[in-house]
């Protein structure tokens, strides 16, 4: 693992070819053992976060213990740059691989999609790659590398503070992630306005397990609101596509007097906007807004101008030539926000709060998130309730890592140069 300051490169004093080959081989051997050991262990052990955490922990502890016992022969290797690089690149490759193979599907799906290769993918647990024990072997190597790199560079000084902060932070993230994997509970609560729940349905990797968990309090949905963006009307240009249909190419707002360029030297300018062409004299609705909107637009092409009225309800469309079509359309009022006014209650304690996306409610050790709504059912609201003891550790690790990296890569190099100038 890297130190912030630009220390001399490793192996510089050792004859390059022999030392490099030897060290590279040893690194490859250790990584090979970790990967194959994990692959063999997963044939014997049941699937699950417990097995992953246990085998990863045991493997990491064994590597660290061996590194400490054989400090010169193994400890320095595991805490060295080449081992760190190899582990990081291998983890990168494995993480990338997990995006090329569909994750968490039924075994039959892999056979259907990949044929015989699908069976191999499932056997190697590429179908749940990030929870496979060979991936755990890689994580064990990372933990060992982080730990031993700190041991071999001890003591802590102002020069290597960034290095220690960063590497300790990464270890804290991994500790927190382990707590999350083992002890976090994530569950769904579906409510309608006026109803309440005292338990939630447990989820695992996004799927309901059918198991209920008591919340320890009552969660009542008092009101559910959906806020929408305002409706608007736009001139829309469509072009024919290769599939025989039309594709939206551009749209323009209803601003009057602005000349818009169109393909093939054409142009369009909206001359007038009417909020309600159904009313006598096209009078705008007394309540404001619009009822039956339309625009009158001048289209120019090949030096010829023609004026057309586009009525939204009539879906007026004008052929511009070359297959291009100009029309006047309503833009649906997309959802801007959805939020639930809830009351949470347990003996001696009651709290009322609005829960929205990005604005969860915390109560009795749970975090309650607004995650769902149903456009066909305006009273329905979907919540995710989460209790995760790993989060503080993970976030603390983030802080340590980010501060460490920033210090090591931006502040310490300048301090080093100042020291060099002073010297």
């Amino acid at each position: 693992m890297s130190e912030a300051t630009s220390a001399p490169v490793e192996s510089a004093a050792i004859p390059a070819t022999r030392a490099t080959l030897s060290e590279a081989k040893r690194v490859g051997l250790i990584l090979g053992i970790a990967l194959s050991g994990g692959a063999m262990a997963q044939a014997l052990l049941p699937e699950g976060n417990g097995a992953f955490a246990a085998t990863t922990g045991v493997a990491a502890a064994s590597l660290v213990a061996a590194g400490l016992a054989l400090r010169r022969r193994l400890g320095n290797l595991l805490g060295g740059f080449r081992f760190a690089t190899t582990v990081l690149f291998t983890l990168a490759g494995a993480s990338a691989l997990g995006t090329f193979v569909l994750q968490g599907r039924d075994a039959a799906d892999y056979v259907a999609k990949y044929g015989e290769l699908g069976r191999i993918l499932v056997a190697l647990r590429f179908d749940d790659l990030f929870h496979s024990l060979w991936f755990g072997g890689l994580v064990a190597c990372l933990i060992a590398g982080l730990t031993l790199s700190m041991v071999t560079r001890w003591p802590l000084t102002s020069r290597n503070a960034g290095f220690f902060s960063c590497h300790l932070g990464l270890l804290l993230v991994l500790v927190g992630a382990t707590f999350s994997a083992l002890f976090a509970v994530k569950a769904r609560v579906d409510l309608h306005a006026g109803t309440a729940a005292t338990q939630a349905m447990v989820e695992k990797r996004g799927m309901l397990t059918g198991r209920a968990v008591p919340l320890g309090f009552t969660l009542k949905l008092d009101r559910f609101d959906v806020e929408r963006y305002g409706t608007e009307h736009r001139l829309a240009l469509y072009r024919p596509n290769s599939r025989g249909g039309y594709e939206l190419e551009a749209t323009f707002d209803s601003e009057v007097g602005v000349r818009r360029r169109l393909p093939h030297g054409a142009a369009v300018t909206i001359d007038k906007y009417y909020a309600d062409v159904g009313a006598p004299g096209f009078a705008a609705p007394a309540k404001g807004g619009f009822d039956d909107p339309a625009v009158v637009a001048t289209i120019e092409r090949d030096g010829v101008k023609r004026q057309t009225m586009f009525v939204e309800r009539q879906r007026t469309a004008v052929d511009l030539g070359d297959g291009d079509v100009l029309t006047f359309e309503r833009r649906d009022d997309d959802v801007k926000a959805y939020r639930s006014a809830v009351t949470v209650q347990r003996p001696g304690e009651e709290k009322t709060q609005v829960v929205a996306v990005n604005d969860p409610l915390r109560f009795a050790g749970w975090s309650i998130y607004q995650v769902n709504y149903d456009p066909k059912d305006p009273t329905y609201s979907g919540f995710e309730v989460v209790k995760d003891p790993g989060v503080p550790w993970v976030f603390l690790g983030f802080a340590f890592t980010a501060l460490g990296v920033a210090y090591a890569f931006t502040i310490e190099p300048r301090r080093k140069k100042s020291r060099a100038r002073a010297a």
Binding site: F81, A250, R261, A356, V357, S367, V371, A406
Partner: protein, 279 residues
């Protein structure tokens, strides 16, 4: 997108032209003995950067939200970040040696934006209405821009290995090698990748209750971070400086580009919340 439609936005066309002019002048500055050519290149780039800033601000005003939602908007912002980071490096290292390659990035980003022009402004969904949205995007894109500039310098390092930057770095007043500039830019970019990754994770926790869900974009952000982390470690291994490190820097930026633009190619992307939707 028919290019005629882009003429409805003359500022975009002007900014693109300014970046193209700056690139041409930086190329000419490689051959010219007159410093004025390089200075004109910088002047055009500053003008282009100003136009780019106006593009972002005007879009922000019209859309009523930060203009980072669609691919086109993000490309325009990336072009701005690339130009700004390059100009900062030009000032810091007192050289225009890699101006031609660096400005190609801003020009390329705008030309690609023209191909991906939005048919209309997309509304911001609830999950993106967060205080974390702007810092997450800004930190990442400045990081990407820094890694791009590192790549541009690495290209110069490979193409013109004989080039030495003259004395004048404000960091320490000593001559720097191109290898050193690449290393500095990657260290800065890696710092921002780290902060951006963690901001994204904290935001995901506040929006959905999970700080990590193995979403393809998350994974590739992690891959990018791991690869540059590997680069920074590998530089300490004997024989991994100079040309080999330059090639690795270029490969690293290839992964950045895949993370940014390639997600829809992945079979696992269908459930991702991060893929740019076709407009």
């Amino acid at each position: 997108m028919d290019m005629t439609l882009i003429l409805n936005n003359p500022l975009f066309a002007l900014t693109t032209a300014l970046y193209a002019g700056a690139t041409a002048l930086y190329v000419a500055a490689w051959r010219s003995t007159k410093e004025l050519v390089g200075k004109l290149g910088t002047a055009l780039l500053v003008a282009g950067l100003s136009g780019n800033a106006l593009l972002i601000v005007s879009r922000w005003v019209v859309a009523g939200r930060p203009p980072f939602k669609s691919l086109m908007e993000s490309l325009i912002f990336l072009a701005f970040c690339m130009a700004a980071v390059y100009l900062a490096l030009e000032k810091l290292y007192a050289t225009r040696a890699f101006g031609a390659v660096a400005t190609l990035g801003s020009l390329g980003a705008l030309l690609f934006a023209a191909l991906k022009w939005d048919a209309e402004i997309v509304k911001l969904p609830p999950a993106l209405q967060s205080g974390w949205f702007i810092p997450h995007v800004v930190v990442y894109f400045v990081g990407y821009a820094s890694l791009f500039v590192a790549t541009a310098v690495a290209v110069v390092q490979l193409v013109r290995p004989e080039l030495k930057i003259r004395v004048g770095s404000i960091f320490d007043g000593r001559a720097l090698t191109l290898d050193g500039v690449v290393y500095d830019a990657i260290r800065f970019g890696f710092t921002l990748l780290t902060v951006g990754l963690f901001i994204g994770s904290i935001w995901a926790k506040s929006a959905w209750g999970d700080y990590w869900v193995w979403d393809p974009k998350e994974n590739w952000s992690l891959v990018t971070w791991l690869v540059y982390g590997g680069y920074l470690h590998l530089r300490r291994v004997n024989g991994w400086q100079g040309r080999r490190a330059a090639w690795l820097a270029i490969a690293g930026f290839g992964i950045v580009m895949f993370t940014y633009l390639g997600m829809e190619m992945l079979p696992t992307a269908q459930d991702s919340a991060h893929v740019y939707q076709a407009q």
